[in-house]
Amino acid sequence: MTGATLTLPVIHSNQLGFCYGSTVVLDAVDLTVQRGEFIGIVGPNGGGKSTLLKLMLGLLKPTSGHLTVLGQAPRQVRRQVGYVPQYPGFARDFPITVEDVVLMGRLGIGNIWGRYQPADRHAAQQALVEVEAIELAQRPIGTLSGGQTQRVLLARALVSEPEILLLDEPTANIDQRVEGEIFELLAALNSRLTIVVVSHDIAFISHYVNRVACLNQTLICHRTADINGRMIHTLYGGDVRHIAHRWAS
């Protein structure tokens, strides 16, 4: 890897905007994430956090502005991005074991047809060890608790050996003790991965991340140390348009 690619931002957006019909969800978002960062995106519900992640994954297309991931269009680098969704997008009664769920992260690597290779199974085992869930490997997915399910989804994202990890409220449905464990895990993974995590819990994640980006239609970036009462107040309780005007100018 050359010096230039190392210093190139991993995620870069310029005046990024997105609308659902006539509803503006994101407006003039300028965000740069450098390699190795652990960034938290916080903000109120409906502030556009999940939409921003979906744009980074190429599941949605920007309605204005530009967004690049690893220097390319998000769709093109999808396979280098690991994603942990807010809600498991599957039915709990689906007949599948934890190991087979994690193996799905290996799709798109190797052969199109046929079975998973021994290397894939090995990678799945490794990923489950890393998230401390190897003892669950043969359990049906529907028998896991909320925290266990999140670990498995994290393993599914890690098994594809991504460069970036995007997580959407990974701890929304689990208790605080397990939440702490999962963030400890993310902090450890941060030594080799760039991590973007969406959360509504600003107080909690600020212990772990390097930087917090506050999102409510538009974006205000701060170092963790800079978060203060006034900012939280303006973000959650103040007049949104006023801030947008102030920071956009």
């Binding site: 999808r78 689906f94 799905m104 798109g108």
Partner: protein
């Protein structure tokens, strides 16, 4: 049952009926699990019923009704898939409309056909005892096609059935595999029309798979179990219907319903016992 076993060795039509039943169970064992886990039973029902349009047209224009059924089923599958993917409003209503319109077209074609009265019942309810030998070959061909496609792309089908969004992120052409799955459902429907008819197809497509799903933890084992359960139900239904001279299709479906009920109760008890074990 004993009467059936004696007659079985005597009459080749019974042997052919059994082969037809087993061929149908392979199809419904392979595809039924997808219909169940993907929760597209209603969608499969829509495909099954609109098949009558193709069969009616085939009768009117005098070509093989199974070919007509196959064409209609594939068209209906692609149309319904397109509606689901791109026409987001009122999917259930649209499928319901297609369901009824398909049947209406079929019935009109059949009414227009001169001298035609008897076969409508066998389209609707099937007649496993009247499957001609050349149709067994046709059914075997469809089975081989389904088996080949499902084996080659097993991982992709599982991924699309399990979590479409994640499958898309892994670079799988989700729309293609979703439509291919619906086409396979369509082919399976045609495969089973001779056995139970298009109205009862849904029972045989879903019940063995649901029963299998209550006892297995992977789609592959669910497929194998569903094939076994389907075969068993067909053999039992065929045997039980012979002596009292009942139509085999409905008898098979009744056995399937009864087994489903039994299996649900048993699996629920088993689940409670397991749950206690895991939570200890």
């Amino acid at each position: 049952m004993q009467e059936f076993i004696q007659a079985f060795w005597q009459y080749s039509f019974l042997q052919q009926a059994l082969i037809a039943g087993l061929l149908a169970s392979i199809g419904c064992g392979l595809i039924g699990p997808f219909v169940v886990v993907k929760r597209i039973t209603f969608l499969a029902g829509g495909i099954a019923h609109s098949v009558l349009a193709g069969m009616g047209a085939a009768v009117y224009y005098q070509f093989n009704p199974l070919i007509g059924a196959l064409i209609a089923a594939i068209c209906a599958a692609l149309l319904i898939g397109w509606v689901r993917l791109y026409w987001h409003t009122r999917e259930d209503t649209t499928i319901g409309a297609l369901w009824a319109v398909g049947m209406a077209i079929g019935i009109i074609f059949i009414a227009l056909t001169p001298g035609y009265t008897t076969d409508l019942m066998s389209f609707l309810f099937g007649n496993i005892l009247l499957v001609p030998r050349h149709e067994l070959l046709f059914m075997a061909g469809l089975d081989i096609g389904i088996l080949l496609i499902v084996t080659l792309f097993y991982r992709q089908f599982v991924a699309v059935a399990f979590d479409e969004e994640f499958a898309q992120l892994r670079g799988i052409p989700v729309v293609f595999f979703y439509l291919l799955l619906l086409v396979l459902v369509a082919i399976t429907v045609v495969l089973m029309i001779q056995v139970v008819g298009l109205i009862l197809v849904i029972a045989l497509l879903t019940l063995p798979a649901v029963i299998a799903g209550q006892w297995t933890h992977s789609l592959a084992s669910m497929m194998m179990t569903a094939t076994g359960v389907g075969s068993l139900l067909i053999v039992i239904g065929l045997g039980a219907s012979y002596a009292p001279d009942l139509p085999p299709g409905p008898v098979i479906v009744l056995f399937a319903g009864a087994l489903y009920l039994l299996s649900s109760v048993m699996s629920q008890l088993y689940y409670l016992w397991q749950h206690r074990r895991y939570s200890k």
